[in-house]
């Protein structure tokens, strides 16, 4: 029934087109059962109060007004914003320099790209464990190194101090995905018209002017996609924070995702936890939407 027999040539066109439905249906049903349906349940739960036992009590938008007044949520969201800004600006700045260096022609460019990309294939847990050790206040590599070069007074507990914990975790995350930024930007650079760069050079443009006015405009679509990636990643970050600090000390490295986890699974406030996770989706979705609009505007 799914695949019309070719002998019924009469309505072949429309019948044939309808076969597409049966190709898509299995994936769609699967997706609805284990993704879309639970997501809609989350939206419903976000308007209830529920401790995980019995039936959720419908409370309308109470959770959302609680959210607006929840100081812990705002400080977590502030950390996400810091993460988005620094976690986008730093790897793009470094990534542009490195990818242009590779693009200008370097021996062993392929090997460099392979190495830069490597941290990206590791599990966040592995990365967290490695960097927990690097940052260990007593025998960590960072502090041992600092003491060896006579900077012992700088050897602090990087993950244990409220001032440094967030940035130490962020540095680890950037170490992980910087290679991704380099490889994507490098791929974008392959489409840059060398003759334009050459013409600018003949016209006396400095290397910086050539970079800023000739190269960057040509890789703008790719640049936008990297930004979408780091922005969504920054709002949704969970694993590396959870493994390294759990949001501590004193909530100083708390982000929305770790806060959501705590509210739901430590405090058993499933209703409010659902509210927080709906907000996470909305923020990521609008960030992606804004970036796509921005990209379209750039192409027009």
């Amino acid at each position: 029934m799914a695949h019309p027999s070719p002998r019924k040539m009469g309505k072949r066109g429309s019948k044939r087109q309808r076969a597409g439905f049966w190709f898509v249906l299995p994936a769609f049903l699967f997706y609805v059962a284990f993704f879309a349906y639970p997501f809609l349940s989350t939206v419903y739960l976000s308007m209830t109060e529920w401790n995980g036992v019995g039936t959720p009590t419908f409370t309308g938008l109470t959770n959302y007004s609680r959210l607006v007044q929840d100081g812990a949520m705002w400080s977590a969201l502030t950390n996400n914003v810091i993460w988005v800004v620094l976690g986008t600006a730093a790897p793009i700045f470094i990534g542009l320099i490195i990818s242009v260096m590779l693009w200008t022609g370097a021996k062993g460019g392929g090997i460099f790209r392979t190495i830069y990309f490597l941290p990206m294939v590791l599990s966040p847990v592995v990365i967290g464990v490695i960097w927990n050790w690097i940052y260990n206040p007593l025998f960590g590599l960072l502090n041992t190194g600092l003491r060896n070069v006579g900077l012992g007074k700088w050897a602090i507990g990087w993950l244990g101090e409220t001032e440094t914990a967030l940035y130490a975790v962020m540095l680890t995350a950037i170490w992980t995905y910087l290679g991704f930024c380099i490889v994507v930007l490098y791929a974008g650079l392959q489409k840059v018209d060398s003759e334009l760069v050459d013409a600018a050079r003949i016209d006396g443009a400095s290397p910086w002017q050539r970079f800023k006015n000739v190269i960057v405009p040509q890789i703008r679509p790719v640049l936008t996609m990297v930004i979408v990636y780091t922005v969504i990643g920054g709002f949704n970050v969970f694993d590396v924070v959870w493994v390294m600090t759990g949001g501590g000390p004193n909530n100083s490295s708390e982000v929305i995702a770790t806060y959501t986890y705590e509210v739901a699974f430590r405090n058993s406030e499933y209703g409010y936890g659902a509210t927080l996770s709906v907000i996470m989706s909305l923020v990521a979705l609008s960030a992606a939407y804004a970036a796509m609009k921005f990209r379209k505007a750039g192409e027009a």
């Binding site: 799914a2 898509v24 699967f30 294939v121 050790w133």
Partner: protein, 279 residues
Amino acid sequence: MARTASNRRLFNSTGKYVVLIVMAVIALYPILQMWMTALRPSGEILRNPFALPSTLDWSNLAKAWTTGRFGTYLINSVIITVPTVIGVVVLSCLAGYGISRFKFWGRGIMFLTILLGLTVPFQSVMIPLYYQLLNMGLLGTYWSVILPGIAFGLPFGVFLMQSFFEDLPHELAEAGRVDGCSEFRIFKDIMLPLAKPAVSTLIVFQFMKTWNEFLMPLLYLQDEDMRPIPLGLMFFQGAYTRDIGLIAAGVAISTIPVIAVYLIFQRQFVKGLTSGAVK
């Protein structure tokens, strides 16, 4: 496309290599240091962590494998990863082909619904999914991470396969139709073999994603005997905080399989991760 050196020269050449090499060291050193520490006799680790090991000591690796039960975790990771990857690839190929080659009722809405999943984090479904799996009697079984794992792989998989099939020429399928093949046979025998590059990209990409997943098994697989590698490593770290050599051995066992797969299939993997960005 000729790569003329002159117009691209923006940097001083020696300085360039210094920067590129420093970056490579930064990317690699933490991992290599972990492997070195795993092979170092325990007494040496604290004295000078930066030096090369004086002798190779395999006892930490052996201990992590047996007491740390990394052998069990490795098997669990395989049990979870293989069906997840197969499920994502089969369903994505079918759906991607259907969306790209046919016009039918519901096509647009189904595709859009699946694509929206690209921005929804797992946190947004984890709570109801827990109770759904509980009601279905799947919680605590391997299925509790395999089935949602497949669903979470679909947005990217369908997107990737859809854009690949769209770019394939239509003439071959027409030839099959003239010969009287069913639509499914056209897909299976003519179009799918042409999609090998995209399929291998999706396999490698989904393998890495599932292999490294940790929140889903943390929530849905409470039994210690069913933990996959990342989860095992996390609990292992908690239990042996002070024994760096042993933790390093756990990291070595966890990283070597993925890095090996990456080095063998890196082209497919990089293509998978960047295909969304570079199109």
